[in-house]
């Protein structure tokens, strides 16, 4: 059998591999998007990063 010939099986395998790859890329994009939203809409996290750094907290006006 000619090893270079593209069997119908290879097409099915390709469709599956491309599908899984796109799904994984999409999943990474969703996790990245969620991370950006969570970090930007959260509290002032840097001010409490391992040690409290009051200079990074928002200044209270009164």
């Amino acid at each position: 059998m000619d090893l270079k010939a593209t069997h119908e099986l290879h097409q099915r395998r390709l469709s599956r591999n491309v599908g899984v790859a796109l799904t994984l890329v999409f999943f990474v994009a969703v996790v990245f998007g969620l991370t950006v939203v969570k970090v930007t809409s959260g509290e002032a996290v840097q001010g409490f990063d391992h040690t409290v750094r009051p200079e990074l907290l928002p200044v209270e006006t009164n």
């Binding site: 099986l9 099915r12 491309v18 599908g19 998007g33 969620l34 939203v37």
Partner: protein, 309 residues
């Protein structure tokens, strides 16, 4: 489970579409729609990305439970005409692979929903998957004619999970949205069982039509429709409802009750004479019924958001 007849060659490799079919995309579309309504009508609004992620992972959780259902039910699916072409009974996807996909996606969807929204939503999704895959598929479906009644709870959870994803708590509106689908499921499936009887007979699934007879099934359809009718009306009178929801609830439930009454009045001779026309019409109407109720909630939500009401 695994020893089902494969109608495709042994060396068949599944396509991506076979994996998608494993997740019951038609059921998923209903899950996405009802969960979206639950999430949108909630009094707390999520960031668009969080809302999208919540719906996505609820849908994946539903798909995962569908894959687990197909893994376990491959033996009876192979016997029933309606389900024989599913990926596992037709041999396109290996039963072990279906199990792995089901378990893997269950874990991912639950953890991601909890991270994207809150722990209670993640817990409810985990419970829903467990309820559908273990309580319904593995236990009740093959052991009691009330399988549809209790199994219906699994399909009723998505709007409640959508609501909890947004608010972080359960309230009367969420419970009523759950109750609408929960009470709607038995008449919907029993109408199907009335005109698809040979399928369930062949598979040995203890449907009410098989165990208690068709007259009892007709009685049950009427009883559950009577119990269902006030629930959407009550939902329309809560904070998520409005004039459109109320009109739809009153009109469709009157129609549904009339259909259930006609089914109850008929016997097998009449049904077979017109090839189950009334039962088929009732079943078709039941599909629109659910979409219309949740669509009406969405319309009222849009009217409120637009300041019209």
């Amino acid at each position: 489970m695994a020893d089902v007849t494969a109608s495709v060659p042994h060396d068949y490799e599944p396509t991506f579409g076979d994996y998608v079919a494993l997740m019951k995309p038609r059921v998923m579309s209903l899950v996405v729609f009802t969960a979206l309504v639950g999430l949108l009508v909630a009094p707390v609004s999520l960031h668009a990305v969080e809302a999208f992620a919540a719906i996505l992972f609820i849908a994946i959780g539903a798909g995962a439970s569908g894959a687990l259902n197909m893994w376990y039910d491959a033996d009876i699916d192979a016997v029933m005409r309606r389900t024989a072409k599913r990926p596992v009974p037709s041999g396109r996807v290996d039963a072990g692979e279906a199990l792995a996909i089901g378990v893997g996606l269950s874990g991912i969807s639950v953890v991601m929903l909890a991270l994207a929204t809150n722990l209670l939503a993640g817990f409810l999704l985990a419970f829903t998957i467990f309820f559908y895959a273990v309580i319904y598929t593995m236990w009740l479906k093959r052991s009691t004619p009330q399988n549809i009644v209790i199994g219906g709870a699994a399909g009723a959870f998505p709007p409640l999970i959508g609501w909890v994803a947004a608010t972080g708590s359960v309230s009367i509106e969420a419970v009523l949205m759950f109750a609408v689908i929960f009470m709607w499921t038995p008449p919907h499936f029993w109408a199907l069982a009335l005109f698809m009887r040979s399928d369930y007979d062949d598979a040995g699934v203890p449907m009410l039509t098989v165990t208690h007879g068709r007259k009892t099934t007709r009685n049950h359809i009427l009883a559950y429709t009577v119990l269902l009718a006030p629930v959407p009306v009550w939902l329309a009178l809560t904070s998520v409802g409005g004039p459109v929801t109320l009109i739809v609830a009153v009109a469709l439930n009157a129609w549904f009750l009339w259909g259930a009454y006609k089914i109850w009045r008929r016997d097998e001779v009449m049904a077979e004479a017109d090839n189950f026309q009334v039962e088929k019409a009732f079943f078709r109407f039941s599909l629109y019924y659910l979409f219309a109720h949740f669509g009406a909630l969405l319309v009222d939500y849009a009217l409120k958001a637009g300041g019209v009401i």
